[in-house]
Each structure stands twice: as structure tokens, then as C-alpha cells.
């Protein structure tokens, strides 16, 4: 009976892993990692503009906005690289998931407050995008990150 | 009885199909006023190609310097007309773009934006139009560069200062290019002068300003 349960559990895990083949996961890691590296580079190239964009959300004082503007893009770049290189993977994945979640909440709060924000994932490069396009991309990225988290957790459980 | 029903139905169908439609000959008009013109007038012609009357609900312009006039408030089917936009040039320079927003009761095209583009010829390009010295600053000459505008030929410039406290010297630096050296006699007190610049043979006058300000100049 116990033997049957173990066999059944490992079959379920193999089945779950096969739903998301390894190569699909790798593609997702490259895409999501690439998006964050690109987003980080765009913002790192013009930190002063990024500081104004953060300030536009009217959540943090200006001095904090400026400090974050110098720091966040590099965090995004390193976490994106972690995803692609599969080094410090869990750490990178968790940080990106938390960052994206906070960012979506901040964007929704700003929208509700009627603020005119032009900052999206890509800083000022995405300033002409509609609000819906912004949120759609952010939610897609969050969904991909959560899916990768689940995959990693399953891999962890099965090993 | 059947004929009556048919006629009634047909009339309803015809009424439903009847529509108003204002067709504009052009919605953008480009004007090239002369340098001495005070106004530029654009004519936006239209025709009601529909079978219902069109009523103008409102006509407003993007700037107080532009006035728009409709010839009539209501345009019967088939009728033509025009909206006249008069742009007061004033002291404006360069290419000016003004819009006239027309609101009608046409359900298909309720709002039309008419664009009036006026290219104001610049006989002279003066750079800068203002020179200043701070009090106590060395009263060295400062230069104003004057160039003849495109399509204009300027052989000579006449420059007069409204104040004897400022001296001006004009020199030709190239074809249609001049420099005006402006120099105050001293910078110990506030002084101001309007420099009137007139191209030879032109009735139009241009201006530049010179001042000694009450604060030290930012170097």
C-alpha cells in the first residue's frame, strides 16, 4: 500500500514536470531574464529621469527616489542574469517576483489616485504605452515568474 | 391599405437612411502672409453632401489671436459655405499653427479640427535680441548678429539707440550678415536702451534691447 502511494506520488511529480518541459522553462527564463536586463539597462542609462519617474508615483520622498533610481536598475540586471545563467537562481527569482508585485500595486494605486505616470517596466522608453498595455505586460511577467517559482519548487520537492 | 403600409414603411426607412454630412474641401490651410501684413485669413470651404441640414453648435479657436466666423448657423442639404479664420499676426515670428474646432450636430463627424498654418516671413534674424551687463561689470562691447532671412536681401542696416548711454557700431560680416557691437559708456548704474534696427529700403523695423541690470551679471 505504502509502495503504491510512493509510486503514485512520483508519477504525479513526473507528470507535473512533463506539463512544463525543461526547454519551455529555459525559454521562459531567457525571455523573463532578458526583459529585466533590458529594463534595467534602459533605466541605468538615465537614472535622473528614472528618479523623476519614481517620484511621480508620490509614494516615496525624493531622496529615497533618487537612491532607488541608482540602485534598482542594477538589481534588475543582476537578477535577470541570475535567471539566465541559473546561478543564484532562487534568490533572483524571488527578488524579481517581489519587485514586480510591488510595482503592479504601486501602478494601480497611482492610477486610482489619478496620477499621470509615464513609467512602466521600461522607464521612459514605454512612456507612450497605454495603462492597459503596461498592466498587461506586468501581469504577464508576474505570471511567468510565479510559474517559474512553482517549477523550481517542484524540482526541489522531487530531488 | 397595403400601399399605405408600404409608403409608411418606406418613409421610415428613408428617414432612417437620411443623414447629414459636411464635406470639407480641405481641413488644413497654409498661408504665406507678407512681412508687412497684420493679418492672415484662411478660408475653409465645405458642402453638405447629405440630405439633412447640419447645424453648427460651436466654433472655437486655439488662441485668442485667431477669430473664426461661420457664414451661417445651419447648412441645408446641398448647400456650400465657408468658415473664415482670421489670424492676427501681431509680433509673432516663424511658422504659427492655430486650430479651429468646429462642433456640429452631424452624428457621424460631430467635431472637425481645421488647421491654419501661417508661415511668417522673417526679414531679419537677430541673435540675441537682448544683451546686458551687470552693475560693475567691465563695459566691453557685446555683439548682436543679424542675418537676412531666407528670400530676403539686405544690403545695409540702420541701427539707432534710444539712449545715448549705449553706443552701437554696425559692420557687414558677409552677404546679408551683419554684426552690431553694443557698448555702454559705464556700468555704474541701471540703464536701458531699445535698439531700432531697420534694413535699408524696408518699412519694417526690428528691435533689440540693451540693459545694465541692478545685479551682478552671471558670467
Amino acid at each position: 500500500m505504502a509502495q503504491e502511494k510512493v509510486t503514485s506520488a512520483s508519477s504525479t511529480l513526473r507528470f507535473q514536470r512533463s506539463i512544463i518541459p525543461r526547454f519551455v522553462r529555459r525559454i521562459a527564463e531567457f525571455i523573463v531574464g532578458g526583459i529585466f536586463i533590458y529594463a534595467g539597462v534602459i533605466k541605468a542609462l538615465d537614472p535622473i529621469r528614472f528618479a523623476s519617474d519614481i517620484d511621480n508615483y508620490k509614494i516615496l520622498p525624493w531622496t529615497i527616489s533618487v537612491q532607488l533610481a541608482f540602485y534598482l536598475p542594477w538589481l534588475e540586471i543582476f537578477c535577470g542574469l541570475a535567471l539566465i545563467a541559473r546561478r543564484l537562481y532562487l534568490g533572483g527569482l524571488s527578488i524579481l517576483t517581489v519587485l514586480t508585485f510591488i510595482f503592479i500595486i504601486a501602478t494601480l494605486v497611482a492610477k486610482i489616485r489619478g496620477l499621470d505616470i509615464t513609467c512602466g517596466c521600461f522607464g521612459h522608453a514605454s512612456k507612450n504605452w497605454s495603462f492597459t498595455a503596461h498592466i498587461a505586460l506586468d501581469l504577464s511577467v508576474l505570471a511567468a515568474l510565479i510559474a517559474l517559482c512553482i517549477c523550481e519548487r517542484l524540482r526541489g520537492n522531487s530531488s | 391599405m397595403r400601399t399605405r403600409i408600404l409608403a409608411f414603411t418606406l418613409s421610415i426607412v428613408i428617414c432612417a437612411a437620411a443623414h447629414a454630412e459636411l464635406k470639407w474641401e480641405q481641413t488644413t490651410v497654409e498661408l504665406h502672409p507678407a512681412s508687412t501684413d497684420k493679418e492672415a485669413v484662411g478660408h475653409f470651404k465645405y458642402q453638405n453632401t447629405g440630405d439633412k441640414s447640419v447645424r453648427f453648435k460651436s466654433v472655437h479657436t486655439s488662441c485668442g489671436c485667431t477669430a473664426a466666423q461661420t457664414q451661417k448657423d445651419e447648412v441645408p442639404p446641398g448647400e456650400k459655405g465657408e468658415i473664415t479664420a482670421t489670424f492676427k499676426i501681431g509680433d509673432r515670428t516663424g511658422t504659427q499653427v492655430k486650430t479651429v474646432t468646429v462642433d456640429t450636430d452631424d452624428p457621424v463627424n460631430a467635431t472637425t479640427v481645421l488647421t491654419l498654418k501661417a508661415v511668417i516671413p522673417q526679414e531679419l534674424e537677430i541673435n540675441p535680441t537682448f544683451v546686458f551687463w551687470g552693475q560693475g561689470e567691465a563695459p566691453k562691447p557685446k555683439t548682436i548678429v543679424v542675418r537676412a532671412g531666407k528670400d530676403f536681401s539686405v544690403k545695409q542696416l540702420k541701427v539707432t539707440s534710444s539712449s545715448p548711454d549705449f553706443e552701437t557700431k554696425v559692420a557687414e560680416t558677409g552677404k546679408g550678415q551683419f554684426k552690431i557691437d553694443v557698448q555702454p559708456h559705464d556700468t555704474s548704474r541701471n540703464m536701458a536702451a531699445t535698439l531700432t534696427i531697420q534694413p535699408e529700403g524696408s518699412s519694417k523695423t526690428f528691435y533689440a534691447m540693451a540693459r545694465v541690470t541692478n545685479a551682478p551679471a552671471i558670467q
Partner: protein, 141 residues
């Protein structure tokens, strides 16, 4: 797994500090650390008010609107009578002042045009356009 996650996250957080600090040092003189600088030419009513006597207010609206009501101490300067009004503005101006140009509302272009001419033709520095225009000033009066 949890401790591995935390350790990895901390390493990444620490790694990002290095280029971040490097960039902050590079930009230390180019950025205002204490207060935001107006983005390009725009300035809010609050920011302009904070300049106090160091600001010179310029009303770019038509004469009739200026005569009706205007920001106390504002100087009229519009494109209808630019040549006539400019000397009067320059008499009130001095180099250390910030120039705040306003007109009827955000969509009105007159303030931008007047600001542009002050910058390009008269080559004046510190020329700003009031965000929200006259209406915004009335709201915050």
C-alpha cells in the same frame, strides 16, 4: 532551501550595490539629492511660490485677460505686442531671477511660445512654464 534562497537574495542585493554606488558617485554633481528639479521647463505653482521674490511671473495671455485679473506682480508679455511689452518685462527682470510664464490653461500654447522666445531670442536662463497655468494658480490661491 529557504536559507539558500535568503543567502542568494542577499548576495544579489549586495552585488547590485557596487555599480549603483559607482553610478551615484559619477552623477553626484549632476543630480539634486534634496529636492526634485522641474522636469524640463515645467514648474508647479508650489515650486514657483517657493522661489518667492526670486521669481518673476509673466502673463502670456491676451491684454484683456491680464487686465481682468492676473497673478499679483505679474508682468504682461504676449506675442500680440511683444516688441512693446518686452522692455517693460526686462526692466523688472534681473539675471538671478527665475521666470515663470503662464497662460490660460495647460492646453494653451502661448506660455510655451513666450518661454521659447525668451530662451532662444533673448537668451535668458531659468525660464519656466507654469504647470496647469492660470487655472492651477487660481485653485491654489
Amino acid at each position: 532551501m529557504k536559507s539558500s534562497l535568503v543567502r542568494q537574495a542577499l548576495i544579489l542585493v549586495a552585488l547590485a550595490f557596487l555599480p549603483g554606488i559607482g553610478q551615484a558617485i559619477y552623477f553626484r554633481d549632476k543630480v539634486s539629492w534634496q529636492s526634485p528639479i522641474p522636469a524640463s521647463e515645467m514648474v508647479t505653482v508650489a515650486q514657483a511660490r517657493a522661489w518667492g521674490a526670486n521669481a518673476i511671473w509673466v502673463d502670456a495671455r491676451p491684454d484683456v485677460e491680464f487686465e481682468r485679473e492676473h497673478v499679483p506682480g505679474a508682468v504682461p508679455l504676449n506675442e500680440d505686442r511683444w516688441n512693446e511689452l518686452l522692455p517693460q518685462f526686462l526692466a523688472a527682470w534681473s539675471p538671478e531671477k527665475s521666470i515663470v510664464v503662464y497662460c490660460s490653461s495647460q492646453s494653451c500654447n502661448a506660455s510655451r511660445e513666450v518661454a521659447r522666445r525668451l530662451r532662444d531670442e533673448a537668451q535668458l536662463k531659468n525660464v519656466f512654464v507654469l504647470k496647469g497655468g492660470w487655472e492651477e494658480w487660481l485653485k491654489k490661491k
